[in-house]
């Protein structure tokens, strides 16, 4: 059969830096099953193609099965793509997967009637079974999907996580516009990466041992499974299929063979390992670095990756430096221990972050740290502490805005507050309950607000909605700007303007407090003089 996989545009205001690896893997699986497979990548160029261009590309064939995947922040484009693909292929089976649908498949399928099947969480085995079942349409036997039956949306049995990631094929690079991505090699503005001529990004890990409240793993680890299935069903899955892990790795051999293939076929000079937390397991880091160096790849390909602060030690950094790592990105998140503990839940402190920066600098690997503003309990003092961290470490950071993406703990904990930002009726009801409004009406309003929220979702570099208890959206945009400029003066002035009480610690540098003190001193001198006169 004819299978089309479509990569929607993502982060259109930045250069495209990531090949569609996930869809590429699904292409490989379909090709192995002898299907005619095509990949349409709407993200490989800037500007992205118009919808008319996209329609013309989709219309070249009549497709039997169309797969579309993406993140929650891509929902608004995916919705348009779904209308387009359905109009052009009225009889095709349309399957969707990825973060945007994994956490609320029934809601998303209700909002997008074009979707026939939702593939939940980890997709490879599910996709393989969907291809096998196509035609017979006996969907209830395929685990980990949602499908339509009459007017209902049916969930099938959950699927355990893949035990051996090495069984997963490489992406079908021959169906990708790899040269287009190479053009943007230097667009990853991290040490080493920005000088690369042929950079590829791929992933060697699924999941993460940390449980940050703002994060999800596209259904591919134990924390996500717990959120999707509930504790009881997860425990049953543990009994049926073994303990579902929080993190899994491709073996060092698999990763090295993949890199060798890329070097031989494309002459890549930089690989960004887009793992969530490569450094969290030191034993594996050492095994990987040993093999990488043994194969001589440290002379051919430079590397960059992500990690967490507590796992950064001098010996890990030394070994990674030898292997050719030029940067390690760490989620610093905040310069306030209170925010890190109460809001982020990462199990990391400011001291961990500071130490990691120092060890990386000493070890010759560039530290990259990302931060967020707008965390639920973050107040102006926490913001000032974060800027203090920037100033102390001489870094320039444009912080992300804490965004409650579906499936995250901050989304689940703040759902009513989120929806009230998209429907003033819900906002009013939260303050002034009205028993005359029926539950059915409230549910309808909430569903409408949910779609508005999903359509508004952007990258965390932009504002979508807030979970902050202290700052509104205007505050957040101003604070983000001032943090980027390390403008402590204006932050303190803003605090006074808004009536946010700052700690005494900042009195000595607060221009308003200094002025107030000077004025009161002057008043006092003047009154003393008057008394003396």
């Amino acid at each position: 059969m004819k299978v089309l996989l479509v990569q929607p545009p993502v982060r259109v205001d930045h250069d495209p830096v990531d090949i569609p690896a996930g869809l590429g893997i699904l292409c490989s699986i379909a090709i192995k099953k002898n299907h005619e497979v095509a990949l349409l990548d709407l993200n490989s160029t800037r500007p992205v193609p118009t919808w008319q261009d996209a329609a013309e590309q989709i219309a070249v064939e009549k497709w039997d099965l169309i797969g579309i995947g993406g993140l929650s922040s891509m929902y608004k484009d995916i919705k348009k793509l779904l209308r387009l693909t359905r109009k052009l292929n009225p009889n095709a089976l349309i399957v969707c997967g990825g973060g945007f649908i994994t956490y609320m498949p029934d809601k998303i399928m209700k909002l997008s009637p074009e979707i026939d099947l939702a593939c939940l969480g980890e997709g490879e085995e599910t996709w393989s079974e969907i291809l096998k079942t196509f035609g017979s349409n006996n969907w209830k036997q395929v685990k980990s999907i949602c499908y339509r039956e009459n007017d209902e949306i049916i969930f099938t049995e959950p699927r355990p996580l893949i035990k051996d990631l090495d069984t997963i094929p490489h992406p079908a690079y021959d169906l990708m516009d790899v040269d287009s991505y190479f053009k943007y090699s230097g667009s990853m503005w991290y040490d080493g990466a920005w000088k690369s001529k042929k950079r590829i990004n791929f992933v060697t890990e699924r999941g993460c041992p940390r449980q940050c409240t703002f994060c999800t793993h596209n259904g591919m680890n134990r924390w996500d499974q717990e959120a999707m299935l509930g504790k009881e069903r997860l425990r049953m899955l543990d009994k049926e299929a073994g303990f579902q892990p929080v993190v899994r790795f491709f073996s060092p051999r698999y990763v090295v063979d993949h890199a060798l293939w890329l070097y031989e076929n494309f002459n890549v000079d930089y690989i960004c390992l887009l793992d969530e937390n490569l450094t969290a397991y030191p034993k594996r880091v050492h095994e990987f670095c040993d093999l990488w160096i043994k194969e001589g790849l440290h002379h051919k390909i430079k590397l960059g990756t992500s990690g967490d602060a507590p796992s950064i030690t001098p010996d890990i950094v030394k070994h990674m430096k030898e292997a050719g790592f030029t940067f390690i990105s760490i989620g610093g998140e905040s310069g306030s221990d209170k925010v890190l503990k109460e809001d982020i839940g990462k199990g990391v402190t400011v001291a961990h972050n500071q130490r990691a920066v120092e060890i990386l600098k000493e070890g010759g690997i560039s530290p990259v740290m990302t931060f967020m503003v707008g965390n639920p309990n973050e107040n102006i003092n926490d913001v000032l502490e974060t800027v203090d961290f920037f100033i102390k470490n001489r870094i320039t950071v444009d912080p992300f805005i804490c965004t409650p993406y579906p499936g995250t703990r901050i989304f689940m904990d703040n759902l009513d507050f989120i929806l009230s930002q998209y429907d003033d009726r819900l906002d009013l009801l939260s303050k002034y309950p009205n028993p005359n409004i029926s539950e059915e009406t409230k549910i309808q309003w909430k569903d409408e607000a949910l779609e508005k929220f999903l359509l508004s979702l952007n990258n965390a570099t932009d504002y979508s909605c807030t979970v902050s208890k202290h700052f509104d959206f205007a505050d957040l945009l101003a604070i983000k700007y001032l943090m980027h400029n390390c403008d402590t003066d204006r932050l303190l002035r803003l605090a006074h303007m808004r009536g946010w009480r700052h700690n005494d610690r900042w009195n000595e540098i607060c221009p308003v407090c200094i002025a107030e003190e000077e004025i009161s001193l002057t008043k006092s001198i003047n009154s003393n003089q008057n008394i003396n006169n």
Binding site: L4, V12, D13, I31, E36, V37, A38, L39, L40, D41, L42, S44, T45, R46, P47, V48, P49, T50, W51, Q52, D53, A55, E56, Q57, I58, A59, V60, E61, K80, R83, L84, K87, L88, A172, D174, L175, M176, D177
Partner: protein, 51 residues
């Protein structure tokens, strides 16, 4: 843009005029503090009726 493991009837992309290309670029990329050209074509229409 579209690549397959079989022979696909590819469409030769229409040559856009310089002005059309420029308008698309501005509409998609924005223009910072400068005036953003507003494309007359509406995204919502998706050109479905023309297909």
């Amino acid at each position: 843009m579209i690549k397959g493991n079989f022979k696909i009837n590819k469409i030769k992309p229409k040559k856009k005029s310089e002005q059309e290309e420029f308008e698309e670029l501005i509409a998609k990329a924005g223009a910072g503090s400068h005036m953003v050209f507003r494309n007359e074509k509406k995204d919502d229409e998706l050109f479905i009726d023309e297909l």
